[in-house]
């Protein structure tokens, strides 16, 4: 199993009356609530935490793109990856991901990832996402074009990385007559492309067809299970067996000395993440055309609770989060590994308004008392589902 340390870089300093005074942590939450002076300190703490995760033995560090919100203050994950490149030497830098369809010119992503890949000596993993509904409002991108733009941007970037330039690309949304990126990426044929997603059937089929690793992100356990199974089934239909390296599970994780302590410590911060960070009204979450009508119908019929209405008990029970003592988390992770067949685990991170000290302690416990149990012992053959780390 490979372990990735994930950071959202949240804005924890929301006003006390946030839940009463604001409908949303996205789109319209006034940016006067962001204080750049405190932001300076936070960014540096967050980067310290990511750098420390390399020393703790994580295989990769994850950053991601979100716009104009308090949930994650990382509109450019590539900038954060750049900040990490020169302060790390071994870990993969997983950008999960760039919202490629939100760019006016996706070649900019092809260029920036190529820069990072060359600079890091080939340590980059390049996630691609559509961007969430809110971000189409925040950046003025027509949500009815969201899928088309995603696929078209993907095709353009992939060609830019792999095809000798210059070439001409004439799509519906993106056109460039002289695509010829300098630098080219270092990894051949190109940096690994991952698909972090909450999973529409279309995205899963696309990923399975291209053999891109699929990482289920922040969704109830049963749903993650369904998505990963769909991926495996799709792969089987295509005539191959999906490997654990193609299957990932991302979940907010917190470890403390005992289960009781872990719960007590993590609860307010997990509730911050779901109640505050993910407070998004439906008209921001699904602007017109962002969801297919089938997805909307399924969603309505399933009657899924919005994240902001979940209780801590529900978060634990439904497997939105992974919280406990090292032994509990280890056992649960072993079950998850067996049940989901995953080879990529994305956890860790400083959750919501958690302190630096708490986040660090949890990461240390996870790295020292959970991770080693999933590493092949020296000289021992790798067990199924726990491949040796590729270095």
């Amino acid at each position: 199993m490979q372990f990735f340390y994930f950071h959202l870089m949240p804005w924890p300093h929301l006003p006390r009356d946030f839940e009463r005074a604001h409908d949303s942590a996205w789109v319209t939450l006034p940016n006067r609530l962001y204080d750049p002076k405190r932001g300076h300190r936070l960014y540096n703490e967050y980067l310290d935490e990511l750098e420390y995760a390399e020393r703790l033995g994580f295989d990769g560090l994850c950053v991601n793109e979100h716009h104009q919100n308090a949930y994650g203050t990382m509109p450019s994950p590539n900038l954060m990856a750049a900040a990490l490149v020169r302060r790390t030497s071994r870990v993969k830098l997983a950008i999960l991901g760039n919202a490629i369809g939100l760019r006016d010119q996706p070649l900019r992503v092809a260029e920036e990832i190529a820069m990072l890949d060359v600079l890091s000596g080939g340590r980059v993993i390049s996630g691609f996402v559509r961007g969430i509904g809110c971000e189409h409002l925040s950046l003025g991108v027509n949500p009815t074009h969201s899928r088309e733009r995603f696929y078209e941007a993907h095709d353009l970037i992939l060609r830019a990385w792999t095809e000798p330039g210059p070439f001409t690309f004439e799509g519906t949304h993106f056109r460039v007559r002289y695509a010829n990126i300098w630098p080219r990426p270092l990894q051949r044929p190109h940096p690994p492309i991952w698909l972090p997603s909450q999973g529409s059937p279309e995205t899963i089929a696309f990923g399975a067809r291209r053999r891109y690793p699929f990482v289920s992100v922040f969704t109830p356990y049963a749903n993650a299970r369904r998505l990963l199974n769909e991926y495996r089934e799709e792969a089987a239909r295509l005539g191959y067996r999906a490997t654990p390296q193609q299957l990932g599970f991302a979940v907010p994780t917190y470890v403390a000395r005992s289960d009781a302590e872990a719960r007590r410590d993590a609860k307010p911060h997990l509730l911050w993440l779901f109640r505050r960070g993910l407070k998004i009204p439906p008209h921001f979450l699904a602007p017109p055309g962002y969801l297919s009508e089938d997805t909307l119908r399924r969603f309505l019929l399933a009657g899924v609770k919005p994240p902001s209405e979940l209780t801590f008990e529900e978060l634990e029970r439904d497997g939105y989060v992974l919280v406990g003592s090292p032994a509990t988390v280890r056992d649960r992770l072993r079950e998850i590994q067996r049940d989901l067949g995953i080879g990529l685990f994305v956890g860790g991170g400083r959750i919501g308004d958690m302190s630096h000290a708490k986040a660090t302690r949890s990461a240390e416990l996870f790295a020292r008392e959970v991770m080693p149990h999933f590493r092949p012992r020296r000289g021992a053959p790798a067990r199924p589902g726990t491949p040796a780390r590729r270095r």
Binding site: L137, N142, T144, G289, E293, L296, R297
Partner: protein
């Protein structure tokens, strides 16, 4: 008033068309809400005109072809519809989105337009006067913005509410987004071209329009050299739905003059 609806193919695209009344032809273009029904204001107009009230493509009972993404597409579609019905020249009434289509039609095909009635048409932008955002507000808030008297919104709502009603509403709002997400509810070229319209035009605007505030009425009145502006007191954005009688009376007087 007796009316019927039929689904016809216009260049292979299924189009739902409501018809009723006797008299000269009157093409009635619905706003962004209120498709798929024979609206009450059409009853009053049907006493004097032969009403043709199609559902725009992607609204009500009309199909949404993959190529639909601009107001021009609808203008061409209505040229095809009139050709197919053998109507050379017609009066057009249009409300909000329908008014935008009607104005774009008159710019492109003035020879086919007898007279124009535009009720709070969308399609232009006035700096410093925001247009209400349909795409970033809860549906209850949207409905409340359409009328001065919010209870009037009931006529747009189905009697039974359920998943399919929500999906249908999402479908229509998606069509609107395809047509006008960005630029939002306007076309910079239309503004530049409106002064070409020489067709006699009646502009009707509610004093309490909370979607396109009355400053837009004044802008349209200056852009259209042959227009008369009539403001309706105590009336919101969906003029023809909020004050059906006043709207019909003004329209009939203007078209019959």
């Amino acid at each position: 008033m007796a009316h019927r609806s039929e689904v016809i193919e216009v260049r292979g695209v299924r189009t739902q068309l409501f018809k009723g009344g006797r008299g000269g032809p009157l093409l009635a273009l619905h706003p962004e809400f209120g498709a798929g029904i024979w609206a009450p204001y059409l009853d009053a107009l049907a006493a004097r005109f032969h009403i043709l009230a199609p559902d725009h493509l992607g609204f009500g009972g009309s199909e949404r072809p993959a190529w639909l993404d601009s107001i021009d597409d609808l203008v061409f579609h209505y040229v095809d519809l009139l050709d197919q019905l053998g109507i050379e020249r017609t009066a057009i009434v249009g409300s909000s989105l329908g008014g935008w289509i009607a104005a774009a039609f008159a710019v492109a095909h003035p020879e086919r337009v007898e007279r124009l009635v535009l009720a709070a048409p969308a399609g232009v932008k006035l700096d410093g006067v925001p247009r209400y955002d349909y795409f970033a507000n809860p549906i209850e808030d949207v409905l409340a913005h359409l009328f001065r008297d919010p209870t009037r919104a009931a006529q747009l709502l189905p009697t039974e509410f359920g998943t399919e009603v929500i999906v249908r509403g999402y479908h229509e709002l998606t069509t609107l987004a395809r047509l006008s997400w960005n630029p939002y509810l306007y076309d910079p070229k239309l503004q530049q071209r409106l002064p070409r319209i020489r067709t006699p035009t009646l502009l009707i605007w509610g004093d309490d329009d909370a979607v396109l505030p009355p400053a837009y009425a004044d802008l349209w009145a200056t852009l259209l050299p042959f227009a008369t502006l009539h403001r309706l007191p105590a009336c919101g954005h969906l003029v023809a739905f909020e004050q059906a009688d006043a709207f019909a009376r003004l329209t009939i007087d203007f078209l019959s003059a």
